[in-house]
Every structure is written in C-alpha cells, then in structure tokens.
Subunit: 245 residues, 2 copies
C-alpha cells in the first residue's frame, strides 16, 4: 500500500499533520506493508529565492491582525504542535522559497530511498519550525541537514549548485497534485484511491488506512503474456518466447 | 491516466511490444492525457557487468538448438520487429548486464522528464537490436546515446562513474514489479488497476487503454481539510488555517 503526502516545508499544518499521520501509522497492524512517499507542493511557487521575511509581520498583514494577535495565533499553532510532541518556535521564524528543499527531498529519495527522504523532510520541518537558524537562503544549512539525514554532503552541494537538478521532479509532483484536485496541503493520497486533506486527527488517518487496506486489489490482468507462447510474447528470467516458424 | 511499462533493454519482445503499444496509443483519442513511464526490470540481475556474450550461441545452448535454428528464431523475431517498422539485426548481437542503462533511464526521467526517458529507451533499443556497436561495457556509447536523447553528456558520465547513482530507483522498480505479480516483460500497468503482460497485438493495448479510461475515477476524499476551518487544518496558496483561541 502506498501513501503519498504532498506538503511544503513552510506549512505548519504539514509538520503537525505528518506527526498525526505517523501516530496512526505506528498503530496500524499492516504498517510494514505501507510505503510513504513525500511529494512536493510549494505554497508560494512564485516567491523568488532570496525573498525571505519574518513570519509574524507577514501573518499580521495577511490576516489583518495586530502583531500580538499574530503571535497568539502562532502560539496556538505551537500548542497543536506540542500536543504531537513537536517543538515549535512561536516567534522569530521566517519564511521564503522552498524549491531547493523540495529538490533535495527528491535527491534524498533517489540516493537513499524513502527512509532518507523521510528523515530529511523531518529534519527540514524541525529546522524550520523549531530551530533559530533559518533554513532559507543558506545552502550550507541545507547541506548539513542532508548530511545529518545520512546523505552525501558533496552530492547535496552539487544538487544545490545546479538549479535544474530534480527541478522537473518537483514540478511533476506539483502537476500531479493539481490533477488530483489538491488545492492545499498536507494532502494524503492512499493507493491513488483515497484522499485525506489537512492535518486531520490521527483517528481519521487510522480510518483512511483501514479503508484503503480493505480496498486493496490486485491488478486485473487483461492479457497474459508468457515466455512460451506465440501470443503476447514475453521474456522472463528463463528466456524469451521463441517465435514459431 | 498513467501507463507504466516494465521492460529490459535486452528483451526483444519489449522492443516490439513498445512499438505495438505506441501504435495503439497514437490512435487513442485521449492520448494527450496518458503519461507513460518506463520502469526497470532486469531479466538477468545477477549477470555481472562485463559478462557480455554473443546472443546466437547463448540461444542455441539455452533452448537446445543448433546455431542455425537459433539464427532462424532470431530471423523470425526480426520479422516481428519489421512488421512494426523496427530494424533488427538478426546476427552478431550480444547481451550483457543492463543495470547501467536502467540507471541512466532514471537519470533521464529525473533530468528531462518522461519524454527524455522515452527517447533514451528508444535509443537503447535501437542501439542494442539494430546497430552493430555493442551497448554493453561501453560507457562512452551510453553517454553518446544519452546526449543524442538531449541529456547532458557530462552528467550522464557522472552517473555511470557512481555505481550508487539511481541504483536504488532501479531496485525499487524491480521490487514493485514483483509486488504487482510481474514475472516477465514487457509488463504494462494502467493506472495501477489493469495489467497487460507481453508484446500483445496493438488491438489488445487499444482495448486496455479504453477499459482503463472508462475506469478512471477521481479520488474518494475521505476527509476534507481547509485553510479556513479548525478541523483538518491546512495551508493553501492564500494562507493557513489560523487556530482559534
């Protein structure tokens, strides 16, 4: 069974939602048969690299709040995070372009599989939401986080130095999100059959996992080929169908 | 709609099957909505790199034929290829380890998307089945084919120089093939719902495309999140759900 999670590093509900999903997954009896893939979704894809700003004034402006009200909203988000055991720095965070982090998440999957990707997105979230040093516009920071996640630092540096590296993979994820109808994140897709949008309570994820598990179906094989027939010819480990005279 | 094609470069029926599938796809009214992804399947994953041998004696030994009978079998395969407009060199081909070609196909998808991947697998097939110069144990040959497919030659060289590059992606494809029940190739999977095994006639692919098109279904959304609720909180392009006091 495959769960794909579209998210953005700059999305606090993605940070919280990942923990809630993982709580459900940890208690799911078939957890070993569940493959989790992180997919890219930039909330603000047009924000240029280098355009990094403080979160509190942005929130105040965006929602027509005072800065104190924005701080209160961040504190309540922090309470949601704390309820999942997550650290959350309610003041002093910044936000910016996340494209490079998404590129590195694809690099992580490519080089280290899903476990490395999961470690890296966890590290990005912690760094962004819980630690003082910014994750934006600081390649060395991202490289250090990649290395902590078990990836090769020089290879991560090379990815950051080449703006095309994994760029297409990020955009392909974003196109797919649109095709699947996702307009916000986190967005969870189970076996391409079921969708769960938002940082739902763990119980909702439990129900979704159970429903998707029950709906698993083998492929309907419409036409069967073989290495020993003359119709639907195929090759297998023991050889290829030999065409008759 | 997504069609995944598991295949191996060393598999003549994959070469023929790709052309038959493409004939069906070219006549399919919704072809623009079909995404084609090539997935890796090594027929002989334990064959070491460098263990390259001539095809005809191998066929003769494997099937208990004389070499003349093996040549006849290859000529009949060539007739099948010719019927699809494909060149096929019936004598003098060799076979060997294809892992590096599969790694490059993942590199192609990463760097140039599905079109580049499709061009490259087409180039590998032509080179292996229709051209004199071997594709095995010849990095410069593979790099030249990658460059012809529009990829960066130096980047392709770097992939070949690093045995870990895209290795995990190849293995993940192979694990998925096993999970889906594929024991031979070509193996076509439509929207992870329908399977077609073998180089079936184009009409079979037409029927499979039609059936999968009819079975397309949007995701069943089990829980809807929003950027403006307090349950299933989410972030969208216009901002994040602000937790209430």
């Amino acid at each position: 069974m495959r769960v794909e999670i579209w998210s953005d590093i700059a999305c606090p509900w993605c940070y919280v939602g990942k923990a809630r999903f993982e709580k459900a997954l940890a208690a799911f009896p078939h957890q070993d048969a569940v493959e989790v893939i992180h997919r890219s979704f930039e909330l603000d894809p047009n924000r240029p690299k280098g355009d990094t700003a403080a979160v509190i004034p942005m929130l105040a402006q965006k929602y027509g709040m005072t800065e104190d009200q924005a701080k209160d909203a961040e504190r309540r988000l922090g309470d949601n995070a704390a309820a999942e055991g997550l650290a959350y720095r309610t003041e002093g965070r910044d936000h910016g372009n996340t494209f490079d982090m998404h590129r590195l998440l694809h690099f992580a999957k490519e080089k280290g599989g899903q476990d490395a990707q999961d470690r890296l997105i966890g590290a990005f979230y912690r760094a962004n939401f819980a630690e003082e040093r910014s994750v934006f516009d600081d390649d060395e920071r991202l490289i250090a986080l990649a290395a902590d996640a078990g990836l090769d630092a020089d290879a991560a540096r090379a990815v950051l130095a080449d703006p095309d590296a994994y760029a297409e993979a990020v955009r392909a994820d974003e196109r797919e999100a649109a095709e699947l109808g996702a307009t916000g994140v986190p967005f969870f897709v189970l076996d391409r059959k079921f969708g769960v949008s938002g940082a739902q309570p763990a119980e909702v994820f439990t129900q979704a996992l159970e429903q998707a598990w029950g709906a698993r179906s083998p492929l309907t094989v419409l036409a069967e080929g073989a290495a020993d027939t003359t119709d639907g010819d195929a090759c297998g480990p023991d050889g290829c169908a030999v065409p008759g005279a």
